[in-house]
Amino acid sequence: MGNETETPRIAIVGGGPAGMRAAGLLAAAGLRPVLFNEAPEPGGQIYRRPPPPLRTVLSPARLYGPDAVRAMALHSDFEAVADRIDHRSGTLVWNIMKQEHGGFRLLHQDADGGQGAHNCDAVILATGAMDRILPMPGWTLPGVWSMGGAQVMLKGQASLVGRRPVFAGSGPLLYLVAWQYAKEGGRPAAVIDASTFAAKLRAAPMLAARPAVALRGLAMAAALRLRGIPVIEGAHADRIEATDTGMRVHWSSSTSSGQIDGDAVAIGHGLKSEQQLAELLGCRSRHNAESGQWLIETDPEGRTSVAGAYLAGDMAGIRGGHAAEFAGELAAWALLADLKHRDNASRRAVLRRKLSRQDRFRRGLEQAFPFPQHRIASLPDETIVCRCEGISASALRRAITDWQPADVNRLKAMSRCGMGRCQGRLCGQIAAGLLTAQLGRTPGDVGHLRAQAPIKPIPGSQLIVEKGAVE
């Protein structure tokens, strides 16, 4: 790995809790890591901070509730070593490559739009997660938000997507965001939770791995009910329509059905890992049945199958903000140990134990709020699956019948599903689900959409690496 006599060059991608903790430890170890963060501020999605003028309005206590202490500790620990971190905020890493003689090369777009390349000996990837959406007719209408998007509006802009939004989907975020809206002056029209009470009950023993957090979830649901906000469990949002006065969500459960009017809709079934950079590096991944997602394989300390590349935080499976802090620190310790720079085996053991408790809790959450995979097979034909390219479920079903594609990448080639701006990050899993259902294949067989650089769209005008190379 690189030149042994020089200080190893470490890059971290992602400035959420995982990346911040990793950077903090490496800085303390004297390695001056480079931290690339697409967001303008550290904190990630969970501890996102509003721009300075709004900070007086939105105090940490209001923003993060019971996590405020943690959030403030994270931010202040980071600030304490900030001068020993080369922090590139507002910088998108859009490609990563293995170097011929070891190490990695990152291509990035900076806050001012300029392009750059960065070489390093080792890299910690901590790019987090994004919303996981189960589409339904009407989900692409204006006024429909992802759960995470609705929360970003609140945390980042101190705005609500609506006064009376309908929250539909599943997962802890569903209750959290609805609760935050209720607290910040909104009055949620309803919470439609796909998971049943029974599923949550079955998951209780595992959720007990973190009793305080589990109780907090229950408390939020109870508080919403107390305010007279309908919480409908075991029900699915089937269709969204725009009415003269706002939005209408049609829902059904095994025993009843109904409709709810609001002025906005927020949907989401939890989160999915953002793994494109690890994939571009060729890190091995595997289908994980519990979460129904493909996950990059790591050892308990975050080492991937590619030597010198480490993963931390939600990128390696959805475990949330606390786990991300442990995982970030642990990956950094693992890296220091691998470099023979410094080791702390007992701290690594402690962090591994903490993480395995978090893992148990995560599995509990996945049991309590399972992704309704079975609903993919029965998506109404008119449902838009790929919103970038406007590809409907029926178009995909036709393509599957016509071409019998061997895997989801082939389905993409034949249907255009996943070829748009989001590169299939939203629709890839749904397309794979349609394929498995229709051809009776397993998720392992149909695979997942391959990542391609640039991992996010970049303006062509900004791709100027060499000055004067053209003309």
């Binding site: 291509l107 701006r421 590169q423 303006p459 062509g460 791709l463």
Partner: protein, 385 residues
């Protein structure tokens, strides 16, 4: 010649085609249509290599006079895809505009103008003023251009799979995930083709349509052309309003560009890298910067259009830029079809039809002399890939 029929066989030949790119699948389709027993053996997936990832350009414009008859014959098939194979593969013919940035390049266009006219192609030379009037969105530093009507583009992702599907419907077998590793001549005539993941099969005729891998595969069956494998790099932007009519290309070849039916701008130029193992390739970092800059120079209105993806594909190039089509002396029954040097998508359907004539009748409407596999015999042979 190497016709199976000419050797006095009563039945139709059994043909094994190696490679399910556009060349292999189109050949299979035309043979199956005549009732031949055809099997395609493909290492990966149908159209998974060059044929599925190329620029999609279908042009006669600027072609070498010895390749023009083939390109023009192919062009007539592009028009009839829906009727022949049940899908038009998004073929459109908005014309092809070749752009000169110097007077020397303009001279090249002027010389080709006479060739095009001699072949009854609808070509038109445009000076700067005419060009600016008709295509005001082009950069102003252009000297002139030549417009060839009738040229256009199709969707490469659809073409080979559609030919393969049509061939299958006519009885052809297509074996995917099956790499040919050995081809042996049998005592009593014919060949035995074997390899990984499929039952060895016997054939009277073998077609080597293995694309960038064909030269080494065909080594035992005559002179391997000294091909060079390259990995041309492609890009696609987000969709924008459709305003670019014809397919564009610089005379220098530095960039070629078209706008898809959905509004995405697809362009290519520069080279990527071949992965170790030689089966895949990936984009180059410098090309990543240079080619989009060229695009911006050519069409300033696209300056702020975001790039969505970049990719590469592998293609074999011959020293004279003409394909290798036919049989090497002394190797009857083994037909090469490779080295398309960046033109094989446009000519692929025509090559397929021509090879079916060669196999079934021993003669072809198109003169194949310029494509003879032995034409490089005086040139030093390359080492196997």
């Amino acid at each position: 010649m190497n016709s199976f029929a000419m050797h006095g066989h009563a039945r139709l030949p059994r043909v094994c085609i190696i490679g399910a790119g556009i060349v292999g699948t189109a050949t299979a389709f035309f043979l199956a249509r005549s009732g031949c027993d055809v099997t395609i053996v493909e290492r990966g997936t149908v159209g998974g290599q060059a044929s599925g990832v190329n620029f999609g350009g279908v042009r006669c414009h600027g072609r070498d006079p010895s390749e023009l008859p083939l390109a023009m014959r192919s062009r007539t098939i592009w028009n009839r895809l829906a009727e022949l194979i049940g899908h038009d593969c998004d073929f459109e013919a908005p014309g092809h505009l070749k752009i000169a940035r110097s007077s020397a390049e303009m001279d090249t266009l002027t010389r080709w103008f006479d060739i095009g006219r001699a072949h009854d192609l609808d070509v038109e030379l445009l000076d700067r003023t005419q060009l600016m009037r008709r295509f005001p969105w082009l950069a102003s530093d252009i000297v002139g251009a030549s417009l060839c009507k009738g040229d256009g583009f199709a969707n490469p992702r659809l073409v080979a799979p559609t030919f393969a599907r049509a061939a299958r419907a006519l009885g052809a077998s297509v074996l995917e995930g099956s790499a040919v590793t050995a081809i042996d001549r049998l005592q009593g005539g014919g060949f035995r083709v074997s390899g990984a993941n499929f039952n060895a099969l016997e054939a009277d005729v073998v077609v080597n349509a293995a694309g960038a891998w064909a030269a080494s595969l065909g080594l035992p069956f005559g002179a391997a052309a000294p091909t060079v494998t390259r990995a041309p790099q492609m890009f696609v932007t987000e969709p924008t309003a459709r305003f670019i009519g014809p397919v564009l290309g610089l005379v220098s070849g530095d960039i070629y560009l078209r706008q898809s039916v959905r509004g995405n701008v697809i362009f290519g130029g520069g080279q990527g890298h071949i992965d170790p193992g030689g089966i895949r390739s990936h984009p180059d970092e410098t090309t990543f910067a240079r080619t989009p800059a060229l695009m911006r120079n050519l069409i300033p209105a696209l300056t702020h259009t975001a790039l969505l993806r970049s990719w590469t594909g592998l293609e074999a190039n011959t020293p004279d830029g003409l394909p290798v089509i036919g049989t090497s002396a002394g190797h009857d029954g083994f037909i090469h079809a490779y080295g398309f040097s960046g033109h094989g998508f446009a000519t692929g359907p025509g090559v397929g039809e021509t090879l079916s004539e060669l196999i079934l009748r021993g003669q072809t409407r198109i003169d194949l002399t310029s494509f003879h596999p032995d034409r490089f015999n005086t040139i030093a042979r390359p080492a196997a890939l």
